[in-house]
């Protein structure tokens, strides 16, 4: 589903500009993962060009090739071969042009930092080979690529290309876009999901200062005014009556693995253990609430948005406005990280409706309360695991039932359920007979994509349970895992993190403990050790985290470290603090006071990330894997520190105290 059929054309990927710079094009989006920088590194190397002359355009639907969306930590893995091939093809065309111009065979020519050289004595800058004729043509699949010895940027740590704009405040985030004649919008919200508009009286609102229009389309109501304060004040003055129609999510049972003999093996196991793990719903909780700028004209629309899916937003907006898709241009802007939330184009659709109604460009930025109340969230999960061990302490059989709700905007598409809502439910261990079943159960909460989807939930259960099995059979958590890992790359990250953190040796102060957890996430291998202190009152303090990650060939090692560190820090916040509360489908925790996340004071003293990629393996993603094993590493560390086994997140003081007492 992520691949297109036709070969890509060079002009959709690489453009040599008249000023000698090169524009590289991709449908992927950078929310802070640093892919813009990684792509520039790849193209600069393959085209043999100083990186300062590479300009990366991401997601502009008028320029870039179709892309399904930025998620699943796939960007670098998918785009690396495409961009390298495209750049290599561009370089070959430049060499061929130079060959014709100089009347020397191609094999006598080479490139050097933005120019074609003829054995060093003649030098033609690429731009002089342009001659008004753009580089073009279908990109061949197999092209000779630059040898590693000639790649100057890939593999080197690079500061982010946007860094200077960000620290000077010049970076233009979505809500910073200013267009001539632009107005501000504010929505009138119903009391719950799925509400139908019964009546509307906007007489008073229309007369308020600055108000340009009260817009209604179906059940969507909003106000457009000269200033945001005015739009908000007037939105509060629109009198509306709603009819509440309860919304329930879908349900389904999906067998993910059904080996023969699981029940029989469990029955004859010499040790059998069954446990249940529970995770609450949590919020993506971006620091910047959803925003969009829409400029809708009678003959077309331009949208400035933050999105994972520019082409998806184009489709949604075109449908909303009744325009053909090619009349809608989506221009993704730098945006607050949203960790999956922006897969859905809520603000964009609303802004488009407001702009159409007002006949002028409109900026809509949600309030903090709206962001909590109306965004999709990561659904809750309840995970039941049973395993049986043989007398030597090997796992014989494994039964796993995942109960959760839909984890993506794709909903119930049976083709993707097992890799979305059921992501990482199949344990990375073997060999043993396993049965794994995903049960999607209805919820009234609006749920969708959040960093790693269900993987962080499943891996919390699986990795906590591995520790429990080890304890029940008198084995060390590390050794028990290694007995069930065959893949050498997986073994290596587990062994390395144990070694690096001193997991097996040394003594810790009282009430301190270390725990290990690991996983394989979309072919990225990651293992972590967390060290915690559990205070006498039951407070869990995360002190240190060690992580070893193998994402294959690494393009920007510091970018990888930053992503993994961030994943760990965010996941520690989920684990220790976060629980979204909702009633009748309505989120009730709608501010940072009711939904606290980790602050500077909660950050561990250190997060050490070793990037030990297998250079012979293709690059894999790093945006999500760091967040996946952290919860179990912390819970396992709590057990090591005080003997309390916590099977429910977040690890609050009350839960720790109760578990210690029992």
């Amino acid at each position: 589903m992520w691949d297109r059929k036709d070969p890509e054309r060079l002009e959709q990927r690489i453009r040599l500009e008249r000023d000698g710079t090169v524009t590289a094009l991709s449908g992927k989006i950078d929310f802070g993962q640093g892919i813009r920088t990684a792509f520039a590194q790849l193209v600069a190397d393959e085209l043999d060009l100083p990186i300062e002359r590479v300009h990366v355009v991401l997601g502009d639907t008028a320029q870039v090739p179709f892309d399904f969306g930025t998620f699943g930590s796939h960007s670098v893995a998918q785009e690396t071969p495409r961009l390298r091939n495209a750049a290599a093809f561009a370089r070959r065309q430049l060499l061929e042009r130079a060959s014709a111009k100089l009347r020397v065979p191609v094999d006598r020519l080479d490139t050097d930092r933005g120019a074609v050289v003829d054995r060093g004595d003649r030098r033609i800058p690429y731009v002089e080979l342009l001659d008004g004729t753009p580089l073009t043509g279908p990109i061949p699949d197999e092209l000779p690529l630059m040898p590693d010895s000639r790649r100057r940027y890939a593999g080197q740590p690079m500061p982010r290309l946007e860094a200077r704009d960000i620290v000077t405040g010049r970076a233009t985030f979505v809500a910073d876009v200013r267009l001539p004649g632009m107005l501000r919008g504010a929505m009138v919200r119903p009391p719950g999901r799925g509400a139908k508009l019964r009546s509307l009286n906007d007489e008073a609102a229309r007369k308020m200062p600055g108000v340009v229009a009260v817009v209604r389309e179906g059940d969507v109501v909003g106000v457009v005014a000269e200033r945001e304060e005015q739009a908000r004040a007037a939105a509060g003055a629109v009198e509306v009556e709603w009819h509440l129609v309860p919304v329930e999510g879908p349900s389904a049972d999906v067998p993910m693995r059904s080996d023969a003999g699981v029940d029989r093996a469990l029955a004859r196991a010499s040790l059998r253990l069954a446990q249940t793990y529970v995770l609450p719903p949590i919020a993506n909780a971006p620091i910047g609430p959803s925003a969009a700028v829409a400029d809708v004209r009678p003959d077309g629309a331009t949208m400035y948005v933050g999105t994972h899916r520019p082409f998806g937003v184009r489709e949604q907006v075109a449908k909303t406005l009744g325009l053909p898709e090619d009349k809608v241009r989506v221009l993704p802007q730098i945006t607050s990280g949203s960790y999956g939330r922006n897969t859905l184009g809520d603000a964009a659709i609303e802004a488009a409706i407001l702009s159409k109604g007002a006949g002028r460009p409109v900026l809509l930025q949600w309030t903090r309360e709206e962001e909590f109340a109306w965004s999709p969230s990561r659904p809750e999960a309840l995970l039941e695991v049973t395993a049986g061990l043989d007398p030597e302490g090997h796992i014989l059989a494994w039964n796993y039932d995942e109960h959760t709700n839909v984890h993506t905007a794709a909903g119930l598409d049976p083709q993707v359920l097992s890799v979305t809502s059921g992501r990482n439910a199949i344990p990375p261990y073997g060999p043993f007979a396993a049965k794994v079943t995903l049960h999607l159960e209805p919820t009234r909460l609006r749920t969708a994509n959040f960093r790693s989807l269900a993987a962080a939930e499943n891996v919390f259960a699986i990795e906590s349970f591995m520790d429990e099995l080890a304890a029940a059979s008198g084995q060390e958590p590390l050794a028990f895992r290694l007995r069930h890992i065959e893949d050498p790359r997986f073994r290596r990250v587990v062994e390395r993190v144990a070694e690096r953190s001193g997991l097996s040796g040394g003594t810790l102060p009282p009430r301190h403990g270390r725990g290990i957890a690991c996983t394989v996430y979309h072919d990225t291998y990651v293992a972590q050790v967390a060290e915690v202190e559990v205070t006498a009152s039951g407070q869990v303090r995360l002190l240190n985290v060690w992580c070893v990650v193998d994402p294959g060939q690494t393009i920007n090692p510091d970018g990888v470290r930053n992503q993994i560190e961030g994943g760990i820090q965010q996941s520690a916040s989920w684990t220790l603090l976060e629980e979204l509360r909702h009633r009748d489908g309505r989120v009730t925790t709608t501010g940072w006071d009711a939904y606290p996340i980790a602050t500077f004071n909660d950050a561990p003293a250190s997060i050490e990330v070793l990037v030990e990629g297998d250079a012979s393996a293709p690059p894999t993603g790093v945006g999500e894997p760091g967040a996946v094993p952290t919860a179990a590493a912390i819970a396992n560390a709590v057990f090591a520190a005080c003997g309390a086994r916590l099977r429910q997140l977040p690890l609050t003081r009350d839960r720790v105290r109760n578990a210690t007492a029992s």
Binding site: P159, R160, R164, R170, P286, I287, G288, G337, G559, A603
Partner: protein
Amino acid sequence: MKLTLTVNGARRDVDIPPNATLLSVLRDDLALTGTRFGCGRGQCGACFVIADERAVASCLLTADQAARMEITTVEGLARGEELHPVQRAFVEEDAMQCGYCTSGMLISAAALLARDRAPDEVAIRDALAGNLCRCGVYGRAIRAVKRAAS
């Protein structure tokens, strides 16, 4: 309502609705969009500015109150093209991901370093505790402030 604000060392005249916040005036009247809206309740730090030497939430100050203060926004930290030491350090440590909270962190850090040239880690954490970051760059930001101080 007509007011004169002192922002980044310059006097700026504005004509705004009464009770407009400093944040909305910076962003919508003065085109200083580096100061960001995060929550409107002073709980996240995205909109921090330096007001008379202290880092404060510009969403909680009315422009009227701010007119009596010297305001510095993230755009006012650098001197021309020369970055403020905290800006340079944040770039060098790559202490950002999406960058939405970065302006606020830089403001807190700059205010801290102006009153304490060599803060220890506890002081750094305390000074930045009002700045939420969802991407999780706390560790790098602490390193960056230490680097800027040295």
